[in-house]
């Protein structure tokens, strides 16, 4: 589990009594953000009718996220496009940078994913109350439910609503951590079984790398699309 260790890079920085030192996690956050900014800035720079590779990449990502939002949350969610785009790209790039050997996976830390999920949860709740006032509480009272079941259903709905940030954050964190741990374990097999028996776990390891890249993309997508769904609940209250 050495790959998940966080350690300080450079001097210890203290804000009051709180330690906010620059760590390897911070480094990879900065690298991911910079990579996103550089790639998309280069892609946005040119204005040719027929796009080149980077332009195509950025424009395809743009329309991909735009389509995802309009499909799940409708046209009302347009003002939140840039947030969801940043979120998707940030999670995706952090996951992908984590796939590089010896790199640190930012999203394999529960605290990072939990802060993101909590921010989304609080933001969505605030948006819901601003848009619908106290009517947002109707979200917990589904229509067409018999009166007898209603108390139970309301309790379940409230619990499921409150567990959203936890499920959202744990899903991403657990996926990333499990994948990397599995690869680490198979990598360990290759070493311990040596030249004779190491080929099988090695081939597994190779296959797992492909799977992990898929998971890295998929989890970023799931994270973004669940955000869209939560946003949809807040914007279009139809339960």
């Amino acid at each position: 589990m050495y790959q998940f260790n966080v350690y300080r890079i450079g001097p210890e920085i203290k804000l009051g009594s709180v330690d906010i030192s620059f760590t390897n996690a911070s480094l990879f956050m900065v690298i991911s953000s910079l990579a996103i900014l550089i790639i998309f800035n280069l892609g946005a720079k040119k204005k040719t009718l027929i796009p080149d590779k980077l332009q195509l990449l950025s424009e395809l990502s743009y329309s991909f996220v735009a389509k995802m939002i309009s499909d799940t949350a409708g046209s009302k969610a347009k003002p939140y496009f840039s947030f969801i785009f940043s979120l998707f790209m940030f999670v995706l790039f952090c996951n992908m940078f984590g796939m590089i050997p010896y790199a640190f996976t930012v999203t394999s830390h529960i605290i990072v994913t939990f802060v993101l999920a909590a921010f989304i949860f609080i933001g969505v709740t605030i948006i819901g109350f601003i848009k619908h006032g106290l009517g947002y509480l109707k979200l917990f009272v589904p229509s067409g439910v018999p009166m007898v079941l209603l108390p139970l259903i309301v309790v379940i709905e409230i619990i499921s609503y409150l567990s959203r940030p936890i499920s959202l954050s744990v899903r991403l964190f657990a996926n990333m951590m499990a994948g990397h741990t599995m690869m680490k374990v198979f990598g360990g097999f290759v070493i311990s079984l040596g030249v004779i028996g190491g080929w099988l776990p090695l081939s597994f390891s190779v296959a797992l790398t492909g799977l992990e890249i898929l998971v890295a993309f998929l989890q970023a997508y799931v994270f973004a699309i669940l955000t869209c769904i939560y946003l949809n609940d807040a914007l279009n209250l139809h339960h």
Binding site: M1, Y2, F4, N5, V6, R8, L15, V18, D19, I20, S21, F22, T23, A25, S26, M29, V30, S32, S33, I36, L37, F40, N41, G43, A44, K45, K47, L49, Q55, S58, E59, Y62, S63, F81, S82, F83, F85, S86, M89, F90, V106, S108, H109, I110, I111, V112, V115, L116, F173, M177, K184, V185, G188, F189, S192, L193, G197, L200, P201
Partner: protein, 195 residues
Amino acid sequence: MLKKIVILLLIACFACLNTVFAAEGGGMPQLNPEFWISQIFWLIITFGVLFIVLTKVILPKIGNNLETRKSQILENIETADKQKEESQKKIEEYKKIILESKLKAKKYFNDSREKIIDDINKKRAVLEKDLDEEIGEVEKELSELKNKSGEKINKIAAETSAELIKELIGEEVNSSSIAAIVEDQSKINKERKDV
């Protein structure tokens, strides 16, 4: 063989896991709160910067690019449609013109044919008339000649007979009497011929 491999793998697995977790000593590093605040702080900073720059600078540019491309493509399609329509109109016009000119050519052809036929007929009529006239004249002449020939023969006969008589008798005979005799004779001849 396969069983052996599986068993070996399992043993190795446990060994590995043991060493892996033995090396940790402190459980999952994710649950160690030592750097939580630092991670949150840097997450807010990096994600905040990323969000602000993307929102303010990059995404509007990409959106603009896409919009302009869309509008340009739409414009191009529109103009292409327009040009297509125009060309179709022109093709129809050309077809019309071609049809018209074909009809015209046919008309001209027919007209000229009729004209030529008329001309030919006229000329033929003129020629025939001329020929008829000439033939008529010739026939007239011939009939005249025929009519005159009897008299002439009579005259010649009278003259020759007068000369013959002169030679034979040595005396001039009254020409009118000879003529009368010749006339009588020719009449007799004629009657004989007719009979």
